[in-house]
């Protein structure tokens, strides 16, 4: 179970650090104070709960206790990818691919808060690599972070647009998006590695004589 707490702790640290750096964020955060947003990504074993005060506390939802907070989002990683295309959002809701419950303003305000922060993930994360908790949670490596940074920036822009254009629809927190992207990236990187290993294995068994160099 502690894996969940490692992740929530790392997200919380990075997020609060950034909010502190950005003096403009205080007013955005004030609007959210006292509110709770829960986000369930189907592929993650646990939902994340964002609690707002003069900071953001990130909790892990427990399986025996459903916490929906003031606003609740449920969606799959595949849906996260599709959110990049704003024109699809209404259809996603109609197809039940995206569930939005409760006070949508909370999700909108949160996504606005996040999108206004200019997140340089690489720089932020490098500050925490000495820290046991963040280090473990983000041991995915520097390269991955660089890739994700570009993706996250793109997503932040798209989701911010979506929040404005689609009145009834709010964007999910970018940090979950980011985390899922990292997981996806890691998955395809391992798939590629596995394929490569399989190929090498095949080569070495089928052509033993040509492998001398």
């Amino acid at each position: 179970m502690p894996a969940a707490q490692l992740v929530s702790s790392a997200i919380e640290r990075v997020l609060n650090h950034l909010l502190k750096l950005d003096s403009d964020s205080a007013s955005g955060l004030k609007k959210l104070a006292g509110k709770q947003l829960s986000v369930a990504v189907h592929e993650l074993p646990w939902p994340l709960i964002f609690n707002f005060s003069d900071r953001v506390d990130v909790l892990v939802g427990m399986p025996d206790e459903e916490v929906k907070g003031d606003c609740h989002l449920a969606l799959s990683i595949a849906t996260l990818q599709k959110l990049k295309d704003t024109s699809q959002i209404t259809r996603l809701i109609q197809n039940n691919d995206l569930v939005l419950e409760g006070d949508l303003k909370v999700a909108q305000q949160f996504s606005q808060l996040i999108s206004e922060l200019e997140i340089d993930w690489e720089e932020q994360l490098s500050q925490y690599t000495g820290d046991l908790v963040a280090h473990k949670a983000f041991a995915f490596g520097k390269k991955l972070v660089q890739n994700t940074q570009a993706q996250a920036n793109r997503l932040v822009a798209t989701l911010a647009d979506a929040a404005i254009e689609e009145k009834r629809i709010a964007a999910p927190p970018i940090l979950v998006v980011d985390f899922c992207d990292q997981v996806n990236e890691l998955r395809s990187a391992t798939d590629r590695l596995e394929a490569k290993l399989n190929r090498l294995e095949r080569q070495s068994t089928t052509k033993p004589n040509k492998q001398s160099s």
Partner: protein, 273 residues
Amino acid sequence: MSNNQVSDSNVDSSETGQTSSTPNSPDSNQTHFGFKQVDKAEKASMVAGVFHSVAAKYDIMNDLMSMGVHRIWKRFTIDCSGVRAGHKVLDLAGGTGDLAAKFSKLVGENGQVVLADINNAMLQVGREKLRNKGIVGNLEYVQANAEMLPFPDNHFDVITIAFGLRNVTDKDKALASMYRVLKPGGRLLVLEFSKPQNEMLTKAYDLYSFHLLPKMGQLVANDSESYQYLAESIRMHPDQETLKGMMETAGFEQTSFHNLTGGIVALHRGFKF
């Protein structure tokens, strides 16, 4: 961290010299202090001595001893608390206030958090730390013995006691007292060292806590005896099933526990209905 100069006269012998019997000892006037048998009346002041002695270095030692993992154990505890804005929370034996600080943010301005501890020196370190972090407003500090809590019946939505119960002289009495001040529908969370579930882990852990830990205590806090006591008190603490049973005896329902780090630590949960 500033040195703590608080004179510590927090243990009133009239509070601690109870006469109820304890399951821990054949002689009802005796209880354990680590591996030693001591007079019940004495234990609280001896425990106070330990925490008075370690107060100033407590946070550093906590990080060192657990290699930072205590933060994750505490996060898990909060995740299991079901705490919401407006709740009243008691962080009992709260010491330097790690849990209370977090709860203060989670319950918001309409909620209330009470950080209670028997030891004035620990409370002072906690108060200073939380003030420096800007945590004020909905947080109160109360010097109190877990065995006789100075709060009304049915008062709190959540009670936590983290690494505190094993230091309490009469644990049954303390659990009953917590039950009394908990609201119906409220829950108690006990985070405490417990019994590792694997033999290899038990061996490594013994080696660590009886040999390395007192040495670290000596080096960092210049106090190996207190850390020797901590290691011993951990072994004397009831195991998972025993504590669960004790909670049920005190009246808690739907009790359960969750082993963390292989059972080195367990989180027990119980409800009052």
